[in-house]
């Protein structure tokens, strides 16, 4: 059974900077299957992040279609996309992107707040996830009180909070030393082994090995490993 979670059809993305048009994606066809893992590689500027954002319904394609779970979401309004993101997709960023004014615990609760999960349940779930990731002693710490590796684990905990179908990670080890980087990679590959769908952007060929499939982007097009 290979059910397709997200499918991109002839997706292009053009950034407009005043008069200048910057083509970031030039016709990408891609299917991410449920339970699979995928690494996106390529030079800087090849369009990896752009592709990841479109897969995660965070950005819109300029042309082409995006199907989420078989449904064409290309024309969905922003709030409906936000709802889908909140429920089904977890993002992990290179720079962690924790909210600095909130504790680790509250950061993990955040996606659940926007989903309207009641406070008690929310706190319980966030705590359980943080404990699973070995951050039980760090619940009330602010991001600035945590090491880079710890921050990234909090970010992964936050991505996991709504129990999403898809985890998207954009160079998750890019800002970490190699030891913490290894830990994070181990964590992500564990998550995949537990059945989560994972798409990870990376520069590191070694890191890419945790994925079942490696896709190479060149100048906004898939150069290698296409289905």
């Amino acid at each position: 059974m290979s059910e397709v979670l997200v499918r991109l059809e002839k997706v292009t993305k053009v950034y407009r900077l005043g008069e200048v048009e910057v083509p970031a994606l030039r016709g990408v066809d891609l299917a991410v299957e449920r339970g699979h893992s995928l690494a996106l590689m390529g030079r800087s500027g090849s369009g990896k992040s752009t592709l990841l954002h479109i897969l995660g319904l965070l950005d819109r394609a300029t042309t082409g279609r995006v199907l989420w779970d078989g449904q064409d979401v290309t024309g969905f309004r922003a709030d409906r996309l936000a709802e889908l993101r909140g429920r089904h997709i977890g993002f992990v960023f290179q720079t962690f992107n924790l909210v600095p004014t909130l504790t680790a615990w509250e950061n993990v609760e955040l996606p659940l707040v926007f989903l309207g999960v009641p406070g008690r349940e929310r706190r319980g779930r966030a705590q359980a996830i943080l404990e699973q990731l070995g951050l039980g002693q760090r619940l009330r710490h602010g991001p600035h009180q945590l090491s880079g590796g710890e921050q990234q684990r909090v970010a992964i905990a936050r991505a996991l909070a709504p129990n999403p179908d898809l985890i998207l990670a954009d160079e998750p080890t890019g800002n970490l030393d190699s030891a913490s980087g290894q830990e994070i990679l181990k964590l992500l590959s564990d998550l995949h082994r537990q059945g989560r769908t994972l798409v990870m952007v990376t520069h590191d060929a070694e890191a890419a090995q945790i994925a079942e499939r490696v896709l190479r982007l060149r100048d906004g097009m898939i150069a290698e490993g296409a289905p």
Binding site: L58, D59, E83, N97, V99, F114, L115, G116
Partner: protein, 395 residues
């Protein structure tokens, strides 16, 4: 959910305490000024109406010429006024110029026809005697201080008023105010020769022309009904130019003057709250700019536009409310301080105490919250509409 968004807003304010304080100062000062002015105004109104009530009372009609001025008289008939159902008593003050001859001089003076029943008013008007006593029998007179001096008269002296003999039974204290409180322009009590109302009637027979008249009503009568009757009696006597004022009219007039001034001042102060709102708007725009990435993160984890909007509206509304609440406290403090100082300085008999009504409290809080929230509308909308990817890329 809404509560959680509210808590997020609270956290945001808490994390930049100093700037939040500075931001709300505008709203604080504005609210303080409005609260101080209105509470003093309401207190003043209460004091004045209280005083009017004490002097004039609920059951009193004051009849006076509609146009004030020297020589203005109203034509009354106290006998017929007393006969109106519901009237307890009626009295009037009359005045004419008369030629007076005393032991040491002769000249023209104002003669007042005074009804001793008016004593209950005169206490308030400072009509106090320097020597002698009150009039108890016909043919007695009380002199104003200057008249007594010029006529070289004292208690026990004999005078003639337009040729008729009178005995001085009292001399008034020197009056500093021009009218001595009778409210009729041009008549100084210092120059007055006061005789009884009856003697005055004998001196000047004919229609009763009075400076003003006072009608006391019986308890539990309908003021308006009696007022109409009184008006009818005046009309029948040929007087069409009299105004009849009751307690309600008086307090109404006072209230409208005080609240007019008050509304004007509070309006000006209210503008400063709006200016304070601009401060909030500025801070909110800065906050949205500073937290652009954070807003991107919120959206990445599933925040909808309206949720982001609410967080920022709450934030600005809370700042407004905080400023308003503090302003309320400061304003009331200022009002108490101001009235205390003024009362001490002028030795007011009936000190004004600021009145803090429930409406004022809620009005001030609501207004400051709304100003704060409205100031946040534009920044919050900007935050809500930020495209998530661009927000995340923002440095």
């Amino acid at each position: 959910m809404t509560r959680d968004l509210f808590r997020l807003a609270l956290r945001n304010i808490g994390h930049r305490r100093l700037r939040s304080w500075l931001t709300v100062i505008g709203i604080l000062i504005g609210t303080a000024a409005v609260v101080a002015l209105i509470s003093i105004g309401q207190g003043l109104q209460r004091t004045i109406t209280g005083q009017v009530e004490r002097i004039v009372g609920f059951n009193t009609l004051i009849i006076s010429p509609r146009t004030q001025g020297l020589g203005q008289r109203i034509r009354v008939d106290l006998g017929r006024l007393r006969a109106v159902p519901g009237v307890k008593s009626a009295m009037a003050l009359r005045a004419e110029t008369a030629y007076i001859e005393g032991p040491g001089g002769k000249a023209f003076y104002n003669v007042l026809g005074y009804d001793p029943a008016m004593d209950e008013f005169t206490a308030e008007f400072n009509l106090t005697l320097a020597s002698g006593g009150r009039m108890t029998a016909p043919g007695q007179a009380i002199l104003g201080s200057r008249a007594a001096r010029e006529l070289a008269a004292q208690v026990g002296s004999n005078l003639t008023v337009d040729g008729k003999p009178f005995t001085v039974v009292g001399v008034l204290l020197q009056q500093t105010r021009q009218t001595g409180g009778f409210g009729s322009p041009g008549i100084s009590l210092n120059d007055a020769v006061i005789v009884s109302y009856e003697d005055f009637g004998a001196l000047y027979p004919g229609p009763e022309l009075a400076l003003f008249a006072i009608v006391r009503l019986q308890d539990k009568v309908v003021v308006d009904t009696v007022k109409e009757e009184v008006r009818a009696v005046l009309r029948a006597g040929g007087e069409r130019n009299a105004s009849i004022i009751d307690f309600e009219d008086l307090t109404q007039r006072i209230r409208s003057v005080v609240s007019g001034v008050q509304a004007f001042l509070a309006g000006i102060a209210g503008i400063s709250i709006l200016v304070g709102g601009i401060g909030v708007m500025n801070t909110m725009f800065m906050a949205v700019l500073e937290r652009t990435r954070e807003i991107g993160v919120m959206k990445a984890v599933g925040a909808k536009g309206w949720q982001v909007l609410l967080v920022y509206l709450f934030e600005s509304g809370l700042m407004g409310l905080g400023g308003g609440a503090l302003g309320l406290v400061f304003g009331l403090g200022a009002a108490i301080a101001a009235t205390t100082i003024v009362s001490r300085l002028y030795q007011v008999q009936n000190p004004i105490t600021p009145a803090l009504s429930v409406g004022l409290i809620f009005g001030a809080l609501l207004f400051s919250f709304v100003v704060g929230a409205l100031s946040g509308v534009l920044p919050a909308r900007r935050a809500a509409q930020l495209p998530p990817v661009e927000a995340l890329r923002y440095e």
